[in-house]
């Protein structure tokens, strides 16, 4: 339509839907604080972050795929597969410090390989993203069960102690979050992010502009696999053992987080930073419900309602 003379504040907001997510996050934080007065103590904050971190990481990876106009339903299974690969490698190599590093390396490679498979099938062979990652998700999950049929196989104490500990006075979980933020800040300043938005916004136009469309989409899936691997390594540090069914709900919560963070599922708009905020909002909603002591049978219901409410804020701003 004709360019509307909207007021500039609204226009600025429309391009920064994550500001709405940030407000929701602050509001939820305050409510949580009121309900749980000891929230702002180092230990409670740290344990909260430990719980939220896996969703945050998976959501970051998912945000790139969605920005490119695709979707990845297999990230939960990638988390499981990375976990069992890591613990198996560590166990097979005897459980020393070098074995831990080898396990982490193997886990990261596994995540990248899974993302590559998704990307090649979808961007290379032009399979439908939803159905393909639904199927590869089942396959990755099946592989995880094949490698480690039942939960178990504890990781060495060095692994989970380090993960639960502190470096230079800051908890390791916080370092992980900082590192993730640095990575997304770097990616956000690379031409890649523009190319990815173009591919998700209008694929035809991206191709006509000379962009290597398939390579860009594959790279987004690889990033999703990589961040799923990071999430898995964190979860492994938290649970301290292997679990082939780990992370089953992560695909849907990561997608919710990305949308809460202001991305359009159709692609072309949104940011990884928004996804981080969205994931934190999802986590805080869980906290608030827990501490508000709603009767158990209402918790899920209320969780759904608050999530809708948080989503509505972004929709109202983004709509013209």
């Amino acid at each position: 339509m004709t360019p509307a003379r909207t007021n500039p504040a609204m226009a600025a907001l429309r391009n920064r839907v994550w500001l709405v997510t940030l407000s929701a996050l602050i509001a939820l934080f305050v409510i949580n604080w009121i309900l749980q007065p000891n929230l702002v103590t180092p230990n409670v904050l740290k344990s909260n972050l430990t719980v939220f971190l896996p969703v945050v990481l998976v959501a970051i990876g998912q945000s790139y795929v969605i920005l490119g106009g695709d979707i990845d339903l297999s990230v939960g299974s990638i988390v499981a597969l990375v976990n069992v690969v890591t613990v198996s490698v560590i166990a097979a190599l005897g459980g020393g410090v070098p074995a831990i590093f080898a396990g982490i390396g193997a886990g990261i490679l596994t995540g990248v390989a899974c993302g590559l498979v998704n990307g090649l099938l979808i961007a290379g062979l032009r399979f439908q993203a939803i159905v393909t990652t639904f199927a590869t998700g089942i396959i990755f999950g099946g592989l995880a069960l094949r490698i480690l049929p039942t939960a178990g196989l504890p990781v060495p104490a060095e692994y989970w102690r380090t993960y639960g500990g502190a470096v230079l006075g800051l908890p390791v979980v916080l370092w992980v979050l900082i590192l993730a933020l640095v990575i997304i800040a770097i990616i956000a300043r690379r031409p890649f992010i523009k190319h990815l938005s173009a591919v998700g916004g209008l694929r035809q136009a991206a191709f006509q502009s000379g962009l290597p469309v398939a390579r860009i989409r594959i790279l987004a899936y690889v990033l999703a696999g990589l961040f799923a691997a990071f999430a898995s390594l964190c979860l492994t540090g938290e649970t301290a053992s292997g679990d082939p069914l780990m992370g089953r709900l992560l695909a849907l919560s990561s997608i919710s987080a990305v949308v809460l963070g202001g991305a359009a599922l159709a692609g072309g708009s949104g940011s990884a930073f928004g996804a981080v905020l969205g994931a934190l909002v999802l986590g805080m909603i869980g906290n608030v419900i827990f501490f508000a002591r709603f009767p158990f049978e209402y918790q899920t219901l209320i969780q759904g309602l608050i999530t809708l409410l948080a989503l509505a804020g972004g929709v109202l701003v983004a709509r013209r």
Binding site: M1, R190, L202, G210
Partner: protein, 500 residues
Amino acid sequence: MTLLLKAESITKRYGAVVALSDGGLELEQGEIHALLGANGCGKSTLCKIIAGTVAKNSGTLSILGRAVEIGGPREAEALGVALFYQELSLVPQLSVADNIFLGREQRSGAGFLDARALRRDTEQLIARFAEVAGAGFSADALVSDLSPDQRQIVEILKVLARKPRIIIFDEATAALDRNQVALFFAILRELKAEGVSSIFITHRMDEVFEITDRITVMRNGATVARFVTAETDRQAVVHAMVGDVTALAERPAARPRSDKPARLVLESVGNKRVQQVSLSLRPGEIVGLGGLQGQGQSSLLQGLFGAAPFTSGTIRLDGEQVRISRPSHAIGKGIAYVSGDRGRDAAFHGRSIFENIAAASFSKERPAMVWPGRLRERFTKAAATLSTKYAGLSAPIGSLSGGNQQKIFIARWLATQPSVLLLDDPTKGIDLGAKADFFALARRLADEGAAILFYSSEDAELLSLCDRILVFNSGAVAGELEGEALTAYNLTNAAYGRAA
């Protein structure tokens, strides 16, 4: 003169459809070369082959005498070829600056985006068009917020930013008004002076004779004639394009105003971009909306159609006050809206031609069940009135040439038999023959009692079709021309706010 680009016996098939059977073109260094032909004759296809976005089936391309295989847009760019896409190659979600430099972003030493350089370069490019681009045209504006002419300007800048030596402009002027075209031509001439060669596709004959050096004409997928512009005339060229056609119908001699009661009355309506517009439209009348690009003509039509609803004033339809705050209200009252902005307003991308025609009929008639067989017949007839060239109603809309797509959207609304027809630059991209048919059709609808509001970015169209013209300036009616006063001279003057 050196021969820069030569395309010879190019062929291209899409399944059973032959888009090109014998495409050919010879482009010399530093010339402006017109590529002409009716809708669907293969102009865009030939250009996309040269620009590497479509693969040819056979034929040869050579640049400076050397045969080249152009495997993709990247390779074309490396050879110095850039294409202005008829359907544009812009990403709506990205800003003007990001679109112009997409894929060739300015980088700092470490490979990061250099936002400052991006802004500086964009502003330099934009500056040339600042005078004529209208409100809201800036480096940071999102392309989705721009008007059709502004988006064409972005596409032009995007092509120029690649600094090519061969530029193909596929209907780059289709949505531009007189001033914008003038500026664009000035740039073309500068490029020519620098030795850049341009291929220029248009359906506006005046432009061909104003700017081009030579002409290549295509017909049904084959190159059929070549002319030197200075040595030929309009008739010869048109004849080569389409055979014998009736020229654009002359405006009928001023007819006495019918004294039927008004069909549509607007009393000081306004929305975001028009203020205090009043007008009255009788059945059988075709009223033009003139003036420079973006003075509120489209907004008035969109307001009437409920797409950008009026926030003040009243609308009367056949004497009765009505409220139109959504397109469905308007459709229910027999109002139809043909937009020239097909990419955004009209097309259901990826859907069939049938569905694209059916959309408006469905929302008007709200059938409980659909019998495609019966509709098929009706739609076939509607499409045939404008001699649309298509493989079948079930083919996807994207398989049509630009002009033929536009004909489908006109057919969509004609199939609803509207009593008020709103035409918003409806002829964008359609060829001379079809335009004449369309004008005759609009005239016939009016004679049967429809009331028509017509906006065009091309003054000649307004002058040949309208009974009277309201000239817009800054969202308000600045003047009205009628009868003897309907001349190009008066229209231009009124557009600039001088007395007619």
